[in-house]
Amino acid sequence: MLNVGKIEEGFVLDHIAAGKSLSLYEHLQLDKQDCTVAIIKNARSNKMGKKDILKVECDINTLDLDILAFIDHNITVNVIKNGEIVEKKELVLPRQIKNVIRCHNPRCITSIEQELPHIFYLADADKEIYRCKYCEEKYTETAK
């Protein structure tokens, strides 16, 4: 059994689908942050069988959590202060996400003008459908 110590301030992202933590690490741009990160892959879970966990020691205001909800709103976000959980954040689908996913529609203006941001808006919250702001193409998982 692997032991990873407590963090003083930051986040513990729990119940990440097994194998997804690295993509989350990239989307949260943790490689660009000067902070301690523990990536725990395939941890045992009563609820999920296997799960990933990310422990991030950082100022709690520095992470953009919108992206978490977009990737998987079942992730549990524990906010840690002084080594204790002070809050469990509920994830809400962001209304808009910028430069997180790319539009793959070859007819979209973003396909020829490279400097344009890739912006998606939440078109249907119930069905979790995001559409490209410019061409309205629906984002699909397979295009990730």
Partner: protein, 303 residues
């Protein structure tokens, strides 16, 4: 400052105002012939479209304004690699309003984000063509006197036809509209549209043969069935006549049914139908000028 990217950018109330203005222009053209003096419309057409461009140019000229522009990407700075954002910044220095057509979807929206002048989407790939939809709505409203309580048949290529998708999305905002979709299996209206209609509890029917539903229609919106959309020649030959409107099929229709078509037609409406008083597609082109005139005045805040 407002732009027009999608027909849904205007509320139904705003559309009523726009259509009232278009009808007033139709009745009193003299009243409006100098209203845009000193104003310039830029028509930035990155792909050729003679009718839409000339309709915009006619609209601005009839309002007393002037027109500058280009009619294909090769004769514009796009051929030198200039971005849409840069082009519109420059056009903003030259003109007071811009109508943009572009083969890439979303290009006019990119322009609107950087523009200092109102931008009208004059067609962006297979995405939107809002002034066509406004034209369709104005034609129906002017000739039927209303935009609610009717059965509309949409016939032909319902899968790829952006004018059809736009018109459906615009019409669902009015009450008691019933849709009948007439197309071959290969060219059926996309699922996301039928899903939307089901969700909004708007009645619709999908049929293969036009003559089966002719007696029920108040409006027939024709589009072209293109041969290249079919997987094989055999299917095309078998089905194409179902979608050609001729006097025999017109004989089955109501006396006051309207026939609309975004044009150009090829052979899907037989020329003999042109003389039928129910054929409204050439009037529709005329309404296209009136609605663009009204739109220019509205976006320039001159009314």
């Amino acid at each position: 400052m407002r732009h027009l990217m999608s027909p849904l950018d205007f509320s139904t109330k705003e559309l009523e105002k726009l259509f009232d203005l278009a009808n007033d222009i139709e009745k009193n053209p003299k009243k409006y012939e100098h209203i845009c003096e000193g104003r310039i419309l830029a028509t930035c057409f990155y792909e050729p479209s003679t009718r839409t461009r000339l309709s915009f140019e006619s609209a601005m000229t009839r309002l007393g304004g002037k027109v500058i522009g280009f009619s294909d990407a090769a004769s514009s700075s796009a051929s030198k690699g200039e971005s849409v954002s840069d082009t519109i910044r420059i056009i903003s220095c030259y003109a007071d309003i811009c109508a943009m057509r572009h083969p890439k979807e979303g290009a006019p929206m990119v322009a609107s984000e950087k523009s200092r002048i109102p931008v009208i989407n004059a067609g962006d790939g297979g995405h939107q063509h809002p002034t066509q939809t406004l034209t369709d709505l104005l034609t129906i409203r002017s000739l039927k006197g209303k935009l609610d309580n009717f059965t509309i048949g949409l016939c032909g290529d319902l899968k790829f036809g952006r004018t059809v998708h736009s018109l459906i999305n615009a019409l669902v905002r009015y009450s008691n509209i019933r849709f009948i979709f007439i197309s071959p299996e290969e060219l059926k209206v996309p699922d996301y549209i039928t899903d939307m209609l089901t969700e909004k509890q708007i009645p619709y029917e999908e049929v293969i043969r036009l003559e089966d539903v002719m007696p029920h229609l108040d409006i027939l919106y024709m589009t072209r069935v293109q041969k290249e959309r079919f997987f094989n020649e055999e299917d095309y030959v078998r089905l194409k006549d179902f979608y050609i409107l001729d006097t025999t099929k017109m004989a089955l229709a109501k006396k006051d049914m309207l026939v609309l078509h975004p044009l150009p037609r090829v052979n899907e409406i037989s020329v003999e139908v042109d003389e039928d008083p129910r054929a409204a597609y050439f009037k529709q082109a005329q309404y296209g000028v009136y609605v663009r005139m009204a739109l220019i005045l509205t976006l320039l805040e001159l009314v």
